[in-house]
């Protein structure tokens, strides 16, 4: 049992090292004193006695060191000594240290930030019970256009009834709510979700307060109930528990608040703040339809059931339902399945990994650069190192110093990088609300550990690479080298040249990828939407409540609103539409053309729906190619007119005049009165057939108000909102955006990826340029006397300069070739992120080559110019 004693000793030696040191001195002093006393007792004089005592004692400093060497924590002491030595050494060249730390900080910071995002969004399991068994379920559309199509209510009901593979299955759909309190509070538009009562049970989540839905709540006849997100409860209701079991008004209907969800809960996404029972909210007929694909379905696989077994089970059921509705081509034949996590983050996966790979390249370049700087430093100190080596300094000792310097640089860079990463992640969470699970992104212990790991790897990498340059065989040569002004061997620069070539190669890869993404983004932004986007303001309105239940009242409201907005000063035109171009797909509907023969059984034709007011086309500058717009005087049943898009005509009325023909949509017959130009529902999607219906039929209760002005359309936002409030002060207005802002939002990820990658590429380019400049300057400085001799012997200065330039451009050129080859292979990986841009786009590759050569030439010019200016006499005298 000696460990307690050893532990006590260990602790004492760690925390009382200074005191123990002085105690040791006292102890040794006492010894000498006693010896002196003894000598005096033996008859020596005081002076003689002390002298003899000291002589017999030997070297006190050595004894002290030897005694100290037996203490525990000796390694810590020598480590600390190395650290102090390293800090002092770096402190002597603050410029070098600052540059190296900054380079490392950028490399490490970018990596840590991206790693945080990738880990939080892609790698962390969903915060639900046993998330590995949760899956998203889809219908597979018959025409194979949509392999992962939304599910119809009727199909879900059959799945739920007949399946053997899922322990739970829930259905949900997005829904916007106008939320108002019981009093006269301002209404507000809230993103919510209709879901079946067992959604939380399927996910394995309990409300933080109150209760979840029961089957009894989820019926059309039940009283309205609502679950609320933690943040909405805190923000709108001040976190007051009294709101439980109290009514709130959603779209004018009373709903009792039965529970508050935990703060971390974000499903189906972070924007969803309210959940209501779907069978209570939606008409039973709608929920029973088997051809209206409107919903998302989440299921929990039974233990032991695989995804393929689960989807096979559902596909059998789906096929059975299909066979019962052979006349309806919109009824699917098969089901599809995807892990829930993948369904939530699938779209962002590849861009995130591409960005992570880019940051890894940046970090590699940063390491190479620091290694390069360390080599330059070692070269400057080569005499000191050679002397120390000659005096017996061990190789390990010298390597340890190098590693310590590299470690100090990496650690300082890592600390600064972590701060940068904090800022970057904060910024990202604020700007990229469209990334799913963005609310889950946090810097935590694992990220800190990752940072520490990166620091160690970088330190070892840079330290070892740079130590390749100090080989024992060279040491003696260095001593001789510097004794007389012989030209420095070129061998030493070769390693740096290789590092530079690698840097340039990586830079080329980054530049190419960034160039392709930028070009793709430019294509995306300039893609012809089919309407004007200049000086157009949009805002969304949702019309709920008793006064909008009657189609005639609704139609009158639209007419009155538009009439008043059009009279506002500055408004050139105003219209109202379900969704403006670029705002998304929204929905489609099957149709038949009354004048055409009936379709063969099992075939369907459908087009995107858009309800629009008569002035919409003129407001958005969508050309009417034939016929006219809707008749503004018609209301409700009489407003049975349709306008179809050009691609609709091309596909379904080839070689025919559609004007005057009739469409039958959901049992309503409409006369086609006009043909409008094509528009795109998303900037990256080709125009699809579109059918416009008359807004004044009073069918639609939500959409976008669009206002066009000749200048400064944003200034009209407030006056228009005032008009809306005058008509109905309970009506919330949301998403007030100009067309440009709206399109910027829909192309946000493309611009984000392109911009970030460009930033990384520019950073790498700068690092490579600086590296090139540094190495070339070094070579020129080393060879000053050689150049002097050459010039003295009559070499033309142009030839000397050409040689120097060639020295600098050679690594750039080999790096360029290597980088282009690597890019050609790598860009295939980002093919799916490109829009109307070929991976091997010659313009982009050409631009990269030109940029790189330009930067390399710039980096080489100054050193070459210096070589040109060498005065032979001066050069020979300096040595």
């Amino acid at each position: 049992m000696r460990w307690p004693g050893q532990l006590r000793m260990g602790i004492r030696m760690l925390f009382e090292r200074g005191r123990q040191g002085s105690r040791l001195d006292e102890e040794l002093g006492y010894h000498i004193e006693r010896q002196t006393a003894e000598n005096m007792a033996a008859g020596m004089s005081a002076k003689e006695a002390r002298f003899a005592a000291l002589r017999s004692f030997g070297n006190p400093a050595l004894v002290r060191e030897q005694a100290r060497a037996t203490w525990s924590w000796g390694w810590l002491e020598s480590l600390w000594r190395d650290v102090r030595y390293g800090v002092r050494a770096l402190g002597r060249t603050p410029g070098f240290a600052a540059i190296a730390i900054l380079v490392m900080a950028l490399g490490i910071g970018a990596n840590v930030a991206l790693f945080t995002v990738v880990r939080s969004v892609l790698l962390k399991p969903l915060p639900f019970r046993d998330p590995g068994r949760l899956v998203s379920l889809y219908e597979h559309s018959n025409d194979d256009t949509f392999a992962f199509n939304a599910v119809s209510g009727g199909m879900f009901a059959e799945w739920l009834k007949q399946n053997h593979s899922f322990s739970d299955m829930a259905i949900m759909g997005d829904e916007g709510f106008n939320l108002a309190g019981a009093g006269e509070q301002l209404p507000e538009k809230i993103q919510g979700s209709n879901c079946s009562w067992n959604l939380l049970q399927t996910l394995g989540v309990q409300p933080a307060l109150g209760r979840s839905f029961t089957a009894a709540d989820d019926q059309h006849s039940a009283n309205g109930t609502v679950l609320m997100s933690w943040s909405l409860w805190k923000r709108r209701f001040g976190g007051d528990r009294a709101i439980l079991n109290q009514p709130v008004y959603l779209n004018g209907q009373p709903y009792t608040v039965i529970g508050i969800l935990p703060a971390w809960f974000a499903y189906p996404d972070g924007k969803t703040q309210l959940w209501t029972p779907i069978y209570h909210d939606k008409p039973a007929t709608f929920m029973a339809g088997v051809d209206m694909h409107s919903f998302a379905v989440v299921g929990r696989l039974r233990p032991g059931v695989t995804m393929s077994q689960g989807v096979a089970d559902l596909s059998v059921i789906t096929h059975r339902v299909h066979d019962e509705h052979l006349d309806n081509a919109s009824v699917s034949k098969a089901a599809n399945i995807m892990p829930l996590l993948e369904s939530m983050v699938g779209e962002i996966t590849r861009p995130l990994y591409v960005l992570l790979a880019a940051t890894c390249c940046v970090l590699l370049i940063a390491c190479l650069n620091v290694a390069n700087l360390l080599i330059a430093r070692a070269a400057a100190r080569r005499r000191e190192l050679a002397i120390r080596s000659a005096l017996g300094g061990s190789r390990w000792r010298l390597l340890r110093e190098r590693l310590m310097e590299s470690f100090l640089l990496s650690a300082a860079g890592g600390a600064a990088g972590l701060v940068l990463a904090f800022g970057a992640v904060e910024w990202l969470v604020r700007t990229r609300l469209d990334i799913s699970r963005v609310e889950a992104i946090h810097i935590d212990g694992a990220v800190a550990a990752f940072t520490a790991g990166i620091v160690v790897v970088c330190a070892l990498f840079a330290g070892f690479i740079s130590s390749l340059s100090t080989q024992d065989a060279h040491l003696l040569a260095w001593l001789q080298d510097s004794s007389r002004g012989a030209s420095a061997g070129q061998g030493r620069a070769r390693l740096r040249m290789t590092l530079l070539a690698a840097e340039v190669g990586l830079t080329v890869v980054l530049l190419t990828s960034a160039g392709l993404l930028l070009k793709s983004y430019a294509h995306l932004r300039s893609s012809e939407l089919g309407c004007t986007t200049h000086n157009v303001l949009t805002m969304r309105l949702d019309l709920f409540g008793k006064r909008y239940n009657d189609p005639a009242q609704l139609a009158n409201f639209y007419a009155a609103l538009l009439a008043r907005v059009r009279t506002l000063p500055g408004v050139n035109a105003a219209g109202f539409v379900q969704a403006v171009p670029g705002q998304g797909y929204w929905g489609d509907n099957g149709f038949t053309i009354v004048e055409h023969p009936p379709l063969p059984a099992g075939q369907a034709q459908y087009a995107i729906d858009r309800f629009a007011d008569p002035g919409y086309f003129a407001t958005m500058g969508i050309p009417l190619l034939r016929g006219r717009s809707f008749d503004p005087s018609k209301r409700v049943e009489r407003a049975n007119e349709a306008v179809i898009s050009k691609s609709f005509v091309d596909q379904y009325f080839p070689g025919e005049d559609p004007i005057g023909k009739h469409l039958s949509v959901m049992g309503h017959s409409m006369t086609i009165v006009g043909v409008a130009g094509d528009t795109r529902y998303a900037p990256s999607e080709k125009p699809k057939p579109m059918q416009y219906f008359h807004l004044y039929s009073g069918f639609l209760n939500n959409g976008s108000l669009v206002i066009r002005s000749s200048h400064d359309v944003e200034q009209l936002a407030l006056p228009v909102q005032r008009v809306v409030a005058e008509l109905d002060h309970q009506l919330p207005v949301s998403d007030v955006l100009t067309m440009d802002q709206l399109l910027g939002k829909s192309t946000l990820d493309a611009s984000f990826n392109a911009t970030l990658l460009l930033g990384f590429a520019v950073l790498s380019l700068m690092l490579a340029g600086v590296g090139l400049f540094g190495v070339l300057s070094y070579i020129v400085a080393q060879r000053t006397s050689e150049i002097g001799i050459r010039i003295a012997l009559g070499a033309p200065r142009e030839q000397v300069m050409g040689k120097v330039l060639l020295d600098g451009l050679r690594p750039a050129l080999s790096g360029l070739v290597f980088g282009l080859a690597a890019s050609a292979a790598i860009v295939r990986l980002i093919r799916s992120m490109l829009y109307e841009t070929q991976p091997l786009d010659p313009a982009v590759f050409g631009a990269v080559v030109a940029t790189l050569l330009l930067v390399a030439a710039l980096a080489c010019v100054l050193p070459a110019w210096r070589a040109l200016r060498v005065d032979p006499m001066q050069a020979l005298r300096t040595e």
Binding site: Q6, M9, E27, H31, N59, L62, V63, R68, W71, S72
Partner: protein
């Protein structure tokens, strides 16, 4: 670094004179440089443990006592004594306390710990076997 050597050898070559010590001949060749040989170090440890066993002692007295008991044959060098004391303290065989010495000044007194006492018994037994074995060989020759 020399472990300890006969008093008479003080002005002579440490290496040669160490041969006077029968039991340590094995160790001699390793004493010229580098770390102290295990055998020498082990022996010094044994001497220290044995010396502080009866009562706490400070460094100077330990050295003195080894010298006296050995009949002035063994003189422990300070360069070996203090590192050995500190090492034994780190290992937990002995413990140290500052107390007033016989001259009235503070000195560091070392005493045996309970594990140290067990270690002393073990080492003593080892030493007995080792020296007997070496004696057998040496007297045979």
């Amino acid at each position: 670094m020399v472990g300890f050597r006969p008093v008479r050898a003080q002005f002579g070559g440490a290496k040669k004179l160490l041969r006077y010590l029968d039991g340590l001949q094995l160790a001699v060749d390793n004493l010229g440089m580098g770390k102290p040989n295990d055998l020498v170090q082990g022996t010094l440890d044994l001497l220290i443990l044995k010396t502080v066993a009866p009562q706490p002692m400070h460094g100077w007295a330990i050295g003195k006592r080894i010298q006296q008991i050995s009949g002035e044959v063994l003189q422990v060098q300070q360069g070996s004594l203090y590192p050995a004391l500190h090492r034994l303290e780190q290992q937990g065989w002995i413990t140290a306390e500052w107390a007033e010495s016989e001259t009235g000044r503070q000195a560091k007194f070392y005493s045996l710990t309970a594990p140290g006492r067990a270690q002393l018994e073990k080492e003593t037994a080892n030493w007995g076997r080792l020296s007997a074995a070496i004696n057998l060989i040496v007297s045979e020759a």
